[in-house]
Symmetry: D2
Subunit: 495 residues, 4 copies
């Protein structure tokens, strides 16, 4: 089934234990700071039911309709469509949580792999859950990042306590008991269920930490501590002051605490198979970086656009050093777009399972490029806009009839551009560069270090080295399949 | 005289017309958001009167005491002490406005230069104002940045109106009438008087814009529109959440509107001498970049320190890629410190006037380095800290007895470090990287472009080119005084 | 027809006037420094005739075979195949000159455009020349870069003389007389004919410089001054010392002087149509950047490979800071490859002409990325290899039986790697980073500034600005076709 | 004594065993490739005897004169003069080997430290050697870099053999026997004696590698393998083609093989004291980075100069993007100069020994900045110069009367600049950016990694962390001596 937006909103009144800003919230649909993110996510349900988008966003099977994202990707086309699903919803303004579907896709692969290699039956649980998703249409998210404690110690070697990574504390007849916490899990307040995955490779001594499962957010023992909103305003003032982030107000991330939570076996997708925790983390990462690059297709275009607009409004668009900066922003947007698209067009294929995932190499290139250059992006936008992005007036100033004439007169830029437009553009810059987004971007969907590791791990070093050996005249390259037909270097002479 | 902190606070109840956040403030000393910045500036008065600092910060002359900053720099030692004055107050936590004293120093030079070249008598006005400063000890700031309108048009060519740059609209017997506005002028709410200077070179057709003068902030016709506070909390919550900027809360910058304000001739330091407006802007810039680099001696040390602390608290300080990032931060701090110090040790000397200014080259190198690398600094700090800087909990969460045990347990880092310490360190990171400071830093005390222009304009190209010509074997280098004694290249052989 | 390698070599004995290293060369096929480049180019003829490559590299039409590159690209598939042609030949070791075919492709489009807009008949001449190419199979190059003189003056405003750009000095009944010179024209010594194009937009007063034509290199009045070889060794010593560039020894670039050279009208593709000189220069650039990116697919793989090999031979491949550098090199290779491929997959289409060219945006992104990062590439390779790349011994040292035991013993790296292999790898590094390639790469196929201009000129600013306007709440975005169906921002609420 | 240049040259005929380019050289003073470097070094002797420089470069003691560099630095002034000695000789064109004096200075400190801590008597040997230096005035160099083999293995763990690092193989009554090899040791062919030092910290199991000693280069068992010259021309052609490096032609670096060489005890300055090998390597590095930064004061000025000259000759010096690049080059030169100067003005002081060394922090900042930015420097120079730096003609082309008129006409740049001057400037660029200097610069005087380690190791982390703790409100900062008098943060309020 596909729920309506109203059904979705109604489902959030489920008794969950949730805190925001030091306050326990009895019903999130009534809380002013929660309205923004709930509306944003509700909109995705409107789109699922919208005649224009239905065919892209949902599938029909046996007379039933469900989200395309519940589907396990089997082909390059599946990945390209997945990308379109994400980008289309984001462009319209619907909040998407890739974390849930991405964890599901990773589980689909890893369960199949475990079953094949170890004779387990996790695929049954994954498929049972998929059936539930198709039938009940819950909003899901995925929880991956553990709390970690001392980063240089493995989970069971931690000193203060052993719960810095989520772990199984009891295996019972009907299910398992889990304990620990996950940190900065996006879209948690607006979801119904969570898929929990490990965030790293574990060793045998840490096998209790190799656990994957799904659970409702209102399960007994779950407490949500929401990270503070990034802005304080609500309503029209919020979106006037902060055009990009004012609607959701940055209310999204939660610390999810699991105080001995029970999970039935049909929602357990890994339990102790430590050799596969790396696969789950890694594959979640690959799918989730695809999601992240979709976000950045949107945001890099916004960045290029607002910079070009500010250049125009400031009367600067004819200067070559400004054009050079704009060119860089456009190039940046194109690289992110094309490299992520290439990750879908040339996926990593698992022929034994009949499944695919986005190319680790290309998707990490796309992710690395946008994350690594985020601060440079902000610097260029700030440079073009000027110091006014720091000191621009706000909604209340603009609405004060004594202040407005001064602002109107003096904050004008180029002739013909209404001052209000220039101020709105500046507010958008202020929102983009002045809310700590930069730091978030280098960490969301995996840190810079994670990208570098992935880029190194999956580059085709044998081929690259064979190429160099051939030119350098070092034997060994002839054995590489990609080079075996090439002549030796330098090739034979005619004269 | 040197006023007491209390006298200073009292003097701010002067009937000024000031707005903040859409609201007109009758008495700023009573407004909760103004308390932080007023206290910070009041502290400088406490220090002037403090037995430990008195000798550094103030001077005695003819039995009277006054600020060292009222002094016109005549030697390298004066500049080195000026630097110590700024740095010492900043370290203690006293807000310093360099803008006022820096504009005064620029006026001292430019007035002398105009009088010498044009036979004017502006030095009399400057010295009269200096006498007033010594006698009355007002808190002053300097207003430099014009509103600018269309950046590609000169002042009198602007289309909507002619007031995008402050200008003289009438010359009367007793004084002049000025109109226009200055933007993002720091420390305005906490000052008593302002020195206004042009921000660029003007041409003859714009000579009405070549005007320098001093005025009380409560003069008739002056309206202050304060830029919104960067944070909403006040009191303990403010400083807990935002350890660096919580006290002042970012209440500092004003748009100052001059609606036909009268300035008597003994407060006018330039009026129409368009050929000297560049000098005023440039010299203000040089002095003010010295001030800016003092700020950054403080802040680059904070940056290096908090990064090192987070590395330690996260258990990461033994990893070589972390050490490499920390090394860069320490190097960055050292370059800013040493290059700015060199700017004082090797000043530009104006022998005909018997005056000095910080070396344009070295002080701009220092400024360029910190401004250009600000985003890189934030990136490294964010990278070391982790995503937690985006999602860390706040004062209200920490104070809630239901949430605190979870936070206490799960946000612990390395064993032996209290969770509270780690959270405080993270809040400091969040404050440093998440408040739009990056964009401010590349613009405050002059944009990156301004530094590049200064670096180019003042490099010793004749010497550099002569050096290259000698090596390349191109004649002409022998005439350069620095090279004339060198042998030709390559020098004569022995064998 | 397709000539044999031998026929090709024979054709170079054509009486051309050519200098190298201060010496006039009567027969280039006999000159030791010319053997390398001639052999390299001859190899392309061997491949055209090779059963494995014939189908890719050549086409059959009406029973005749000719190079695929003589074909005017009409589809994305044509461009993708063009890319494969270049890359395949390069990988095998055949020197390809893209300059000729790229100038031909540009002329094909520009002639059609002129004919359509001005009613000229240049397409006839282009097609006549194409027929000649198919029939005679000459080796061609393209001459684009003018000498330029004072870069800040246009051609007819130059002071010393008016020949800094190639120009028409006489229009006669049978043809035209041209004068001037072209600089650093690749592959000239090894070609039979040249297509000459302007290198920039010209204005009306410079219309004599808007001239495109083809000519044999041995035409009366043409003098070739070959740029000095980059290395002095020949034969085995050359390729041992310099594995990458030893064969051709850098003998490729010529200054081509045109001393009143006659060109018949059926080889003239533009003559005075100054409004189209920009098109010719720009389109040549677009096609030629495709060629350049093919080269860099090859060389970036070599760079990644030799760096990985040196890391291994030095025993460094387990260190994370080394892996990080290697990851960057692999990422760099992937971006160049994918962005250039995207330039063919998503070409710029000229529907009125039925023709295509590589996407200006994507191909310039690819070119900019490799050119801008060339110095970084060399830095990383040098850093991994160590100082030994500066001081490594050469062929003569290695062949000296007294020196070899010392070298063998002491230049060993990791156990199990023969010293000879390590030295060969180091020689390859020395060749890659120590021959001034870095500077060449940032200029070949167009300077960095040219890329930036192209990236700016062809970015979709209207769309980017509309995207920003929608989010900022500034009207006007609704009119953009790509956005018109989107809802306003922020979208309607459910609750 | 101070020898004459002629005495110095004569002393090089000492029967040394030396190879160059596969050839054994019986008398280096007769070899055409050796003339350049010998003349360059001989020139330093001319300067020592020159009335203008004598007082700076040499000292008088007890009626005898000797080099200032034989002096052990005891004060900041000693270091500042040392810097002047190096820079003055370099500017005049005299080759200086800092390696010898720098190793001597390191030995002076380390011997004193060992004697103090271990009761050894190495200072006697060092002082005996110093006496010899003063009396005999030999040209010395210092050998530091070991061959290393597998970089991830310590010396005694190497697999192929144990001689990858120089070691003591026998301790005899009169002296020691050493074996191994040192790599790329500058100025070896032109020196009389060498001081050999370990290049890293050694552990106890490697104590035989902790050995420091001095030896003549013609000692029995020493073989010198000279790295190939970087250019092939000699005489006038060499310096015309390569204005910067043509004289010395890059003949400087040797692999020095020690085949069981005997060293008497009075020339042994460390033998087995493994705990101090790090000190010797580190202190050598500090002194030698001072030397390296002197070189770069010279070369960064050349870089800025030639770039400015090319901008002028190409008619580009009015463009803002060119000025921006030039500004960067000037800034770069100033940072290297000032930071190195600061390293001498604020040295590291060893009060227990009464000795000093350049500040590890500042001198490494200077070194890191020039090494890390070397490739950027080359990129900017190449960018400004244009592709002509790759293809410019050479001495033989210029001297050919048939080619010269074409070159003269067409390679002209801006009107008024003789073509010959432009070509000479371009040849200088080609020399600077096209000879692999970039790679050399990042390794000479210690790799980038070495600088980063030093910068990290010597930064004042305790102070930086205390600064951050104070602001963040974390106790502990009060104990730091530099902060203990500061008030707590935020300071007390007035209102």
């Amino acid at each position: 089934m596909i729920r309506t937006a109203e059904q979705y909103v109604e489902s959030l009144r489920d008794g969950r234990v949730i805190y925001l800003n030091g306050e326990k919230i009895p019903d999130i649909t009534k809380h002013p700071k929660m309205k923004g993110p709930i509306n944003a996510r509700a909109m995705s349900y409107s789109l699922y039911n919208h005649p224009t988008f239905k065919d892209l966003l949902t599938m029909e099977e046996d007379g039933d309709r469900f989200l395309f994202l519940w589907n396990q990707p089997k082909t390059s086309e599946d990945l390209i469509r997945r990308r379109q699903v994400y980008i289309t919803c984001m462009r319209w303004g619907a909040a998407m949580s890739g974390m849930g579907p991405d964890a599901l896709a990773a589980s689909g692969i890893v369960a199949a792999r475990m079953d094949k290699q170890l004779g387990t039956h996790y695929t049954d649980a994954v498929e049972d859950y998929r059936k539930h998703l198709k039938a009940a249409d819950p909003a899901i998210t995925g929880a991956i990042t553990d709390i970690k404690g001392n980063r240089s110690l493995r989970p069971s070697a931690q000193v203060q306590h052993k719960d810095f990574y989520v772990r199984v504390v009891d295996r019972q007849k009907d299910g398992i008991i889990v304990r620990g916490a996950k940190m900065h899990i996006s879209a948690t307040p607006t979801c119904n269920e969570i898929i929990v995955s490990p965030c790293r490779a574990h060793r045998e001594e840490d096998k209790d930490y190799a656990v994957v499962f799904a659970t409702p957010v209102n399960a007994k023992g779950i407490t949500l501590l929401t990270s503070p909103a990034t802005i304080d305003e609500t309503g029209e003032e919020a979106t006037w002051n902060w055009p990009v982030s004012g609607r959701g107000a940055g209310v999204s991330e939660c610390m999810i605490v699991f105080d001995d939570v029970f999970v039935p076996w049909n929602r357990v997708f890994m339990c102790g198979e430590w050799q596969f925790s790396r696969d789950q983390a890694w594959l979640f990462g690959v799918f989730h970086r695809l999601f992240g690059t979709c976000h950045k297709v949107i945001s890099t275009e916004q960045d290029a656009g607002i910079a070009a607009l500010m250049a125009e409004y400031n009367g600067l668009d004819r200067y070559s050093h400004i054009q050079e900066k704009l060119a860089w922003l456009a190039m940046h947007a194109q690289i992110v777009d094309i490299m992520a698209q290439a990750g879908c067009e040339h996926p990593d294929v698992f022929p034994d399972l009949g499944l695919v995932a986005p190319s680790v190499s290309y998707i990490n290139v796309a992710k690395f490029m946008f994350a690594n250059d985020q601060h440079e992006t902000s610097k260029l936008i700030s440079d073009i806009t000027g110091g006014i992005a720091s000191t621009v007036f706000n909604y209340k100033d603009w609405m004060n009839p004594e202040e407005r004439p001064y602002i109107e007169k003096y904050l004008a830029g180029k002739d013909g551009i209404p001052t209000e437009h220039r101020i709105k553009a500046i507010r958008m810059v202020k929102d983009l560069v002045g809310h700590g987004h930069d730091g978030t971007v280098i960490h969301a969907e995996g840190s810079l270090a994670a990208q570098k590791m992935a880029l190194y791990a999956y580059a085709d070093w044998e081929r690259y080295k064979a190429v160099a050996k051939r030119i350098a005249g070092i034997p060994g390259w002839e054995e590489h399949p990609a080079l075996k037909d090439l002549p030796e270097w330098p090739p034979k002479s005619v004269i």
